[in-house]
Amino acid sequence: MKESGSRRYFIGGAAKAAAGIAVGAAVINCARQTNAAAPFRPPGAGDEARFMSRCIRCGRCAAKCPYDSIHLLPASAGVKAGTPAIEFREKPCYLCADFPCVAACPSGALSRDVKEPEDVYLGTAAIVDTDDCLAINGLRCEICYRECPLIDKAMTIDVSLNKTTGAHAIFRPVVHKKHCVGCGLCEYVCPLDKPAIKVLPGMRGDSSAHYVEPGEEF
């Protein structure tokens, strides 16, 4: 062992302390990007900042997902490495009756308040491509509507006359964001190469400041 007074020991130590500070700064810089491009999380995660303060990267939710919908983010995700995420186009959330992911979470990152599919909120589906949506173009597609686990609540069909032919109907799928939980099944089953319907984050807003529903009071 070296004497603590030795010069080489001191210089070596100082170099390592500097390296340590550099690594620390990199970690902080990495961690500060917490809210940038939040991925979709499993049920019960809630707001990204709340979720990120509670997830301890154990992966038990992903291990318990019967559909392998939940994957863990790679090391390149920086401070989000090892946290669970759902990529709807790969595998959506099937809203299991018993929410095994929530039950498996040991740290409260996935809130136990989620008991019914209606309690889930991952995002809101929206038809992002009305030009290519087959149903809107007059074809009998409506796959997203048929597959929606909250059919006739989160999604309905709006029937109108097909003006192109003047003789046929257009069965246009409509998302109702009050009820849509963002499970992503619609995005998953859309037969287009680039889905015409996608789940978007944080769309559950409140229009009451601008609009009062007929029958409601001011």
Binding site: G12, K16, G20, T34, I56, R60, P74, A75, P106, S107
Partner: protein
């Protein structure tokens, strides 16, 4: 005869086995090294639980209970046993160090107390950023995840980065000077009853114990003055007990009849 080394290797290798167990049977073990369920009992890494408490601004009681369960078990023995008996990164570091020693790569010993700075940083950053920061970058948790989910992209890089300096710069750099988990457990190890005790009457001062010790600093006082190993830096790896030709060292929960008070006439 390296009796303890054999037992320790079996325990160390049982950890990967436990982490793989849920692939066949979730009743034995299910989880990772940050949180898991062992034979129906929820356990959790106390440092992760503390980081979460700071990040979330409030404790999550099921996790705190799980963390206190494991901390209670460790404290009854000696919390630092995690490092030499459980931690898979410790096992890898030991393997790497034996290769390094065989290749004759010269390294230095960096101060043990650096890792308290890492611990303070991990806790401070967790509170400041509202994220349990070390859980993201922990090579231990990353290694734990590997056994269930396979190698995630970049996971090897995290573990390799932790052990890089070990091979070329400083001996067992990660374990001795960086790891906040070791620092955290070292604090609790000070309260532990189980320690390496010195029978100074038998010690010939040959120095073999210091050569096999990951933190030979802890053996200075026992060899010189015949005291017991009091430092939280001792991981109870038992290498010194195995190597001592005079059987002067042993791990006991209480000071032995021939502890610090042993006569010095053989010197």
């Amino acid at each position: 005869m390296k009796k303890w080394l054999l037992i320790r290797r079996l325990v160390q290798l049982s950890v990967p086995a436990l982490l793989l167990a849920p692939r066949w049977n979730e009743g034995v073990y299910f989880g990772n090294l940050s949180s898991g369920r062992l034979l129906g009992v929820e356990i959790a890494d106390p440092l992760s639980a503390l980081e979460l408490t700071l990040a979330a601004g409030a404790p999550y009681m099921p996790l705190v209970t799980a963390a206190l369960t494991i901390l209670a078990v460790y404290t009854v023995i000696n919390a630092r046993v995690f490092c030499s008996w459980i931690c898979p990164v410790g096992l890898m570091a030991e393997a790497l160090d034996s290769i390094r020693a065989r290749l004759g790569v010269k390294t230095v010993d960096t101060p043990l107390y650096y890792k308290y700075a890492t611990l303070a940083f991990a806790l401070g950053a967790s509170a400041f950023l509202s994220v349990p920061v070390f859980t993201s970058f922990s090579p231990i948790i990353t290694t734990g995840r590997f056994f269930y989910f396979g190698a995630a992209k970049g996971a090897v890089a995290i573990v390799a980065a932790a052990l890089l300096a070990d091979a070329f710069v400083a001996r067992r750099f990660w374990c001795r000077s960086i790891c906040p988990v070791g620092a955290f457990y070292a604090i609790f190890a000070r309260l532990a009853p189980m320690r390496i005790r010195m029978n100074h009457g038998r010690c010939t001062g040959c120095g073999k114990c210091s050569k096999v010790c990951v933190a030979p600093e802890v053996l200075e006082a026992p060899v010189k003055f015949g005291s017991d190993v009091k430092s939280g830096e001792c991981t109870l790896c038992m290498n010194c007990v195995d190597i001592c030709p005079e059987k002067a060292l042993s791990a006991r929960p209480f000071p032995g009849r021939s502890g610090a008070a042993a006569p010095l006439e053989q010197h």
